[in-house]
Amino acid sequence: MTETTLNLKLKVWRQKNPEDKGHFETYQAERISTDMSFLEMLDVVNEKLILDGKEPIAFEHDCREGICGSCGAVVNGLAHGPQKGTTLCQLHMRHFKDGQTLVIEPFRAKAFPVLKDLVVDRSALERIIEAGGYISVNTGSAPEANNLPVPPQNSELSMDAAACIGCGACVAACPNASAMLFVGAKISHLVLLPQGKPEAARRALSLLRKMDELGFGNCSNERECEAVCPKEISISNIARFNREFIKASFGSTEE
């Protein structure tokens, strides 16, 4: 693919700290290579801001290869931008047109307070995992592989759910700022495997309660989460979470 360059107008959310009210600031992104990623484009803009003696735009990133879940912003109304199944760091500038205006906002949710500019505090997702999104039974040393039968379709489904990188785009895209896709993925990834079953009921209830307590909204099956998820995690995981909730509430001794 031949490299071309773009000139873009950016309207970026700038907010000094959690207390600041915040506002949009307009910047020109000039001579941006279409081979760049979205974050590299922001790097270019930031270099100019630094040279001009201004505060660069704060945004989160780490791996820049779509696996860590650090990056994310809402670009023209879409979490992680317009490309399906792609994190912001893996979104290439060739998906934009010369002269386009890009409105860049942080993920918005009561449970994700803005720390600075595009950086939000997503530790609420960690709080949910800490509430029981793991396996605490002692599974001993590696067993003989065939002792513990795992149907291949279950291991596939579990792996699909485990692809969740915890970026929070599902929450950002949900009209209700619900975390059901994230929690559904965590529940599914564990409960589909034999090691995850003993604690299934307790896990379903404690993750749910933590999620409610942290101020996430209620799922109303709008399916926006699934549409923006960079790992294309299916809402069938939310249905599984709903089933696990029913089983835990009416079929277990957990209160």
Binding site: V74, R108, V114, N176, S178, L208, E224, I235, S236, N242
Partner: protein
């Protein structure tokens, strides 16, 4: 009983009640429609259906009580969920765009729900909570649907119900956990078909009466 309260005060618990009551309403409106369609066999057939229904006596009262309880739950919890969902995003986005999941039905669900409430109140005042000693249901119907205003009101009302159900039907299945690659596409298609037939079926009656009487 503490566990029961905890169960139904959680977000998924409330949604379970929304789904069960919503799907309950869906079955009710289907039966209601099938009964009403007897009007196409003429006045006598319609009145004999009404009579048969009322001869069930206590069963009808029980069903009505059930509907009232379902309605209180569905409306009350719908309102709570709606407010909580607004609170979950105190700062809105400057630019909103559909990523491909939302539908007209899902976007408007809380609002169509509220309009249905208005519609049901008018509907009950008009057809259920009236003294029928000196008249019968067919006369009330024909008096109502010879007035063009009521014809429009009813048609709009049932369209709103259809739009609500176009999302509600499959959403209810998803909420109670019945999502499976084998049958979810079927559930979604059935939901669309159901809401179209529901809207068309109910809307046809005032139109029929208006044009033939």
């Amino acid at each position: 009983m503490n566990w029961l309260i905890r169960t139904f005060s959680s977000s998924i618990g409330k949604k379970q009640i929304m789904a069960v009551t919503g799907l309950g309403f869906s079955s009710f409106v289907l039966i209601h429609l099938l009964g009403n369609l007897t009007i196409y066999q003429g006045r006598e057939a319609f009145l004999s259906y009404v009579e048969k229904l009322h001869s069930l006596g206590g069963l009808v009262t029980l069903a009505e009580l059930g509907l009232v309880v379902f309605a209180l739950l569905h409306i009350g919890l719908g309102l709570i969920l709606f407010v909580q969902n607004l609170q979950a995003r105190p700062v809105r986005y400057a630019v909103k765009k559909r990523a491909g999941g939302r539908t007209i039905g899902s976007i408007t669900a809380p609002y169509t729900g509220f309009l249905i409430l208005v519609f049901i109140i008018v509907h009950l005042l008009k057809f259920r909570l009236v003294d029928k000693a000196a008249t019968d249901d067919f006369i009330i119907l024909s008096n109502t649907f010879t007035q063009v205003g009521y014809v429009f009101f009813y048609i709009l009302g049932v369209i709103v119900v259809a739009v609500h159900v176009s999302h509600g039907f499959w959403s209810g299945f998803q909420t109670i956990g019945l999502n499976h690659p084998k049958y979810m596409p079927l559930v979604q298609q059935l939901g669309m078909l159901f809401s179209v037939l529901l809207g068309a079926g109910f809307a046809s009656i005032p139109l029929y009466l208006f044009t033939t009487l």
